[in-house]
């Protein structure tokens, strides 16, 4: 069974440019999470989806970040415009059921570098 797929794996952009990350969760997983992980820090939740509904986006900086999960499967996370401080690893995770953090599976992440 394929795991959580993320692309691209690496992205280097200049500040003020837009960037988008894509996540394909494990088949059948209704819950999808986007996390941000800075160097030397643990992951921080940005947004959680139950199917196509964003049920917790309280930590998402909505002035520049946006996310969507059309049709409740794949998801994209966008930053526009990117800032230097956005350099981090963006992790996507999925779970079969809501609230089952012990059953969430993480993707390999996208490492973003903003110059």
């Amino acid at each position: 069974e394929a795991g959580v797929v993320q692309s691209p794996r690496y992205k280097i952009i200049e500040k003020k440019q837009p960037v988008a990350f894509w996540c394909n969760p494990i088949s059948g997983h209704n819950t999808l999470y986007w996390y941000l992980q800075n160097l030397g820090q643990g992951p921080e939740l940005l947004i959680r989806y139950e199917n196509e509904e964003a049920v917790d986006d309280s930590q998402l900086p909505k002035d520049r970040f946006s996310a969507e999960r059309l049709k409740g499967v794949d998801s994209t996370l966008k930053i526009q415009p990117a800032e230097l401080g956005d350099s981090a690893v963006y992790l996507c995770a999925s779970a079969a059921r809501a609230g089952t953090y012990n059953e969430q599976f993480f993707g390999p992440g996208t490492r973003l570098t903003v110059l």
């Binding site: 820090q41 992951p43 917790d56 309280s58 012990n102 993480f106």
Partner: protein
């Protein structure tokens, strides 16, 4: 503000040694504490602890939770080079109608041959 504090932040030991990683927390509406192992990029789940004093064990790894003193430890015995990774502690809490998960900064463990 909810906090999850791990110690030490980094640790270097030799193969065969036993290590103990610590995680203390201050979280409102605590539900569970989780341990993850992060190699390269993707964290993988190790344990979920909900009740005090009940040890969870998987091979050379074990973990226990103390809800009175608000901490957990992760033990690794007879360490191997493959145990080198970042070990993340996370606390699940309930609030505002949705469960949340707060991670500590992690302990970077290096096992030398």
């Amino acid at each position: 503000e909810d906090k999850v504090v791990q110690s030490p932040l980094s640790l270097v030991v030799h193969e065969g040694d036993t290590v103990t990683l610590n995680c203390s927390y201050e979280v409102t509406n605590f539900r569970s504490l989780l341990w993850y192992k992060q190699e390269k990029k993707a964290p993988t789940f190790l344990f979920m602890l909900t009740s005090s004093g009940i040890e969870k064990k998987s091979g050379r790894l074990s973990s226990i939770l103390d809800k009175k003193e608000l901490f957990s430890i992760l033990n690794i015995t007879a360490t191997q080079t493959g145990d080198s990774a970042i070990y993340l502690c996370a606390v699940m809490y309930s609030g505002g109608g949705a469960d949340g998960l707060t991670f500590g900064k992690g302990t970077h463990l290096i096992i030398q041959p």
